[in-house]
């Protein structure tokens, strides 16, 4: 690993000036960053550890929303009683990700900002616009089974790997950041960027901006769930996943939240499907039409065309299950 300096400040006021100069990165649990540094893909000169900044609280705010500190570990968040009760989709998404050990290490901020990646991103021998801007993309005509079908460009088709972010997208979470210019709030759906022709730039944060918290609006009355389809039952990234919340009254969809993982270059909020479903009949035919409409925008490659069918079927299955579970929570 390339040498670097390490600093563990105890307050945000010290962390931000330390974390702003070029060549500096914040360190959460290190489960993504340390791996990429060992591979030489990330080569920071300085690391600023954010786990001493007292960002590890989870608190309910007066308006009923939930504020989650950026340094809260994934396992702690998944097990929190308020999350299990009011935001089941989030707890399920977290528990479907990585392994028990990794969830104990991974932080909320690090999970949000883990790199979007595909096998070629890791390979020195391969062309990758994300690793080496302008070098091309070997995934386009290569081994692209894991790659995205929504939000892709001719420069990059890597899928966003996070399960947590898919649930946060469906929940309308807001990311709180603090940087040299002060604080601001970014809707989760606007934190990640589509690859376009600059796939090396993955998010909308400015230099030195530190994620301090994620805030969830008060719990929905609708029932919610997360389903992940993958090559093995556990400890694997999603081929396709669905986060959904559904409420039905008089056989009509009165509330719907739908987001997809494994198929998008960013956590994919399925706005088109939501638009078609809201106010319409709560039946399988409508679910299928909405799923197909969302996936109509897909651009497939030789290895990942199956993801369209898989995502559609998973959306339908999840909505069917949520409507069967029917009224109540």
């Amino acid at each position: 690993m390339k040498p670097f300096t390490y600093l563990k400040p105890h307050d945000i006021e010290a962390a931000i000036p330390a974390g702003t100069p070029p060549g500096t990165k914040y360190l959460g649990g290190g489960t993504n960053l340390v791996d990429l540094m060992r591979e030489g893909i990330e080569q920071p000169d300085h690391l600023v550890d954010i786990t001493g900044l007292h960002l590890d609280g989870i608190e309910e705010l007066p308006d009923g929303s939930l504020r989650i500190g950026a340094a809260v570990r994934n396992s702690t968040l998944a097990a929190h009683p308020k999350v299990r009760k009011g935001y089941r989709v989030l707890s399920e998404a977290l528990l479907s990700g990585a392994s028990g050990q990794l969830r104990n290490m991974a932080t909320v901020g690090g999970n949000l900002l883990q790199r979007t990646r595909c096998p070629y991103f890791y390979s020195d021998a391969a062309a990758c616009n994300k690793r080496q801007p302008g070098s091309g993309c070997d995934a386009l005509d290569g081994f692209n089974r894991s790659c995205a079908v929504l939000g892709v460009s001719d420069s990059c088709i890597a899928a966003h790997p996070s399960d947590m972010c898919v649930a946060l997208s469906a929940l309308d979470a807001v990311v709180h950041v603090q940087g040299p210019g002060g604080t601001r709030e970014i809707p989760l759906t606007e934190l990640h960027r589509l690859p376009g022709d600059t796939p090396n730039i993955e998010n909308t944060l400015e230099a030195g901006e530190l994620v301090t918290a994620v805030v969830l609006p008060p719990p929905l009355s609708a029932r919610s769930t997360y389903r992940k389809v993958r090559d093995r039952a556990s400890y694997a990234f999603a081929l396709a996943s669905v986060a959904a919340a559904l409420e039905i009254e008089d056989d009509k969809v009165t509330r719907i939240r739908l987001a997809l993982g494994g198929v998008g270059t960013k956590p994919w909020r399925a706005y088109e499907a939501e638009r078609l479903l809201l106010g319409g009949p709560a039946d399988e035919q409508a679910y299928r039409r909405a799923a197909e409409a969302e996936l109509a925008a897909a651009t497939v490659r030789a290895g990942n065309a199956f993801k369209v069918t898989l995502a559609e079927a998973t959306i339908v299955a999840v909505l069917r299950d949520l409507s069967k579970a029917g009224a109540g929570s």
Binding site: P3, K8, S91, L95, S99, G100, Q101
Partner: protein, 166 residues
């Protein structure tokens, strides 16, 4: 170099360490604690699992400097009925993954007792008593065994579940 202090298997160690050294390399190369194994060095196998302040982690993705002040337990510091149970149940063949399996299992049983749910926990409520084989399989998925001793591992863990309170 930064001086850090860890409590390793009960004894306090003060060591100078470069920031880019992983906890796994510190243990294996500097301190000659070779129970934790370097299977993949990228978080994908669990052979390097140790307990840090009682929580199971992958030592290969942990920077040693970030664990200054922590209490680290490796298989060398474990004395627990689970070790006998692994022998009785044939919980290993070559034994390479075993130090990680056992540290992971102890951390996992603590999580289960604390009521932390897993992806297969029904309705998110962790039932009292021993974890089911299905629960153990899911919760131990971060530890691969290339000899495929999984059935023995699961039985060994079930045998001792509930006795982990030392």
């Amino acid at each position: 170099m930064t001086e850090i202090q860890i409590k390793l298997n009960g004894s306090v160690e003060r060591i100078d360490v470069d920031p880019w050294v992983s906890l796994l390399d510190l243990l294996r190369e500097t301190l000659k604690i070779t129970g934790p194994k370097k299977g993949c060095d990228q978080g994908a196998c669990g052979a390097c699992t140790v307990l840090a302040d009682g929580r199971r982690i992958n030592a290969c993705l942990a920077l040693a400097v970030a664990y200054d002040g922590s209490e680290i337990t490796t298989i060398e510091g474990v004395s627990h009925p689970i070790q006998e149970a692994f022998i009785h149940r044939d919980g290993f063949q070559c034994g390479y993954c075993t130090p990680g399996q056992i540290c992971s299992a102890l951390g996992m049983l603590g999580e289960y007792q604390a009521g932390m749910p897993s992806a297969v926990t029904e309705a998110g409520e962790v039932p009292a008593g021993k974890p089911s084989p299905e629960e153990i399989r899911e919760r131990m998925s971060g530890n691969l065994c290339r000899c495929g001793a999984y059935n023995g591992i699961i039985m060994a863990i079930q045998d001792v579940a509930g006795t982990e309170n030392r």
